[in-house]
Symmetry: C2
Subunit: 273 residues, 2 copies
């Protein structure tokens, strides 16, 4: 089952050397001028998850988007920088036609029971069954690869741009999962972390040239929590703090169906005007 | 003046090749088993700020702490991965005695006037003049390299550990700056981003073995805002969301004296028990 899901097909990597993997882009995750950023994050995560040297589950991933990835073949270079008893550091590069399209760092860890505490509880929202699935727009394939149930702050595509005095809230809350649905794993979680419409679009209702430049995701979910989630929708929350001089930040949280914070993180987004 | 500040002395790098810099650790920024993480972030930032190929100011920095840095010499390898009209991507490694002690990625950018908006305003707090400077503890040199004026959530060193039912708030708000004071620049801002006592210590009042594993800072401040800040204190805010299975997240904001969000970011912290 799982092996035939579009995410698994799209992130299949063939090992050409111990530190070199080859893959091919998938149309299923295509955005405007390349795959959506979450797909690149998933590729890097796949490269580390498949590596026999891996210590344990990932706890952090940073992806830097250097150049658009074109349709076709690419290679991923994997370097294990340092491996200890508690943590392990990986550096990765995605190459295509002699260009570095993206770089990444991933930290894996040996995770055991310790003091545990969650400061904030999951937002009080209607269950996924009570929220309508948004129709999949045809223009951007990657939006069809996920199921979006917007609770607050749904997309405003097609509505007129707002002026600075009439901005929408930067906050979006939604239930989301892979479409077709698929049991959660770290590869899927890495991509789901980038499944939020960029906050500038959300606030202004415009679509200027823009793209994520760097994204960091922290994985709180341990393997038992990943398994418990199965293919249920995740609660996603996104917001932003400052838009200024071509860049804005964007932060996100992903909660399990049963109220655990599975991941959170931030990204910085470039925009032209 | 600036050239003799302890931060400048501690981050002085000598170029041995176009992509290779050499430096020596400074006792002024020492923590328990190595320099405090903000010093490493400052070193990487210095390496890029000093590079003649740099496009413009930094917008993002991720530092991965792979192994403790010992006192003495080290080298930084700098690689310009990709340089475009709008953004520029750097990868860096800090080597000592054949070991990778830390890796980093830094994104620089060409920043111009665009749509600008700040979603949240600076927290309403007393001005720095109205808040007492905390006495510098003697045990940890790096704490003496900064001036801390705690508004809320000051350190609890020496008090008994609390149990899980009696945790302190994870939130700290304080005014902070270099000691002695020094005009702000991106090197200082990179280190100030890590000037918060780890949230586990703050909440529990214990000091188990623990260290930052990966830290990402987003620089909203443009050069004119850096210059306007001068050597005034910055308002810092730190909090955390989840402590679980050896790791917790920590997020931070740094605001200028006149209410602009200069930087924000997150880190993940390993702890033993």
């Amino acid at each position: 089952m799982t092996s035939e899901h579009s995410l698994d097909l799209a992130t299949r990597l063939d090992r050409s050397a111990s530190d070199r993997l080859a893959g091919t882009t998938s149309d299923a995750y295509w955005n405007f001028a390349g795959p959506f950023g979450g797909y690149i994050a998933a590729l890097f995560m796949r490269a580390v998850m498949d590596d026999p040297r891996r210590l344990g589950p990932p706890v952090a991933e940073t992806v830097n988007y250097c150049a658009p990835l074109a349709k076709g073949h690419f290679e991923i270079a994997v370097r294990l920088q340092r491996s200890g008893k508690a943590t392990q550091h990986w550096s990765l590069e995605l190459h295509q036609a002699g260009i570095v399209a993206a770089t990444a760092s991933i930290v894996c860890a040996n995770r055991r029971d310790t003091f545990a505490h969650t400061v904030t509880t999951m937002p009080d929202v209607p269950p996924p069954e009570a929220v309508a699935v948004a129709p999949a727009p045809e223009r951007l394939p990657w939006l069809g690869a996920y199921e979006f149930r917007f609770i607050e702050g749904g997309p405003r595509f097609g509505e007129p741009a707002r002026d600075a005095g009439d901005l929408a809230s930067p906050v979006t809350r939604l239930w989301l999962r892979d479409r077709p649905d698929r049991a959660l794993d770290y590869v899927a979680l890495a991509s789901l972390a980038d499944c939020f419409i960029l906050r500038l679009v959300q606030m202004r209702g415009t679509l200027p040239p823009m793209s994520t430049v760097s994204m960091t995701t922290y994985f709180h979910a341990t393997p038992d929590e990943i398994e418990r989630q199965g293919s249920a929708p995740l609660l996603g929350v996104a917001t932003a703090q400052r838009f200024h001089a071509n860049f804005h930040d964007q932060s996100m949280e992903l909660w399990s169906r049963d109220g655990r914070l599975l991941a959170n993180g931030m990204q910085t987004v470039w925009y032209r005007e």
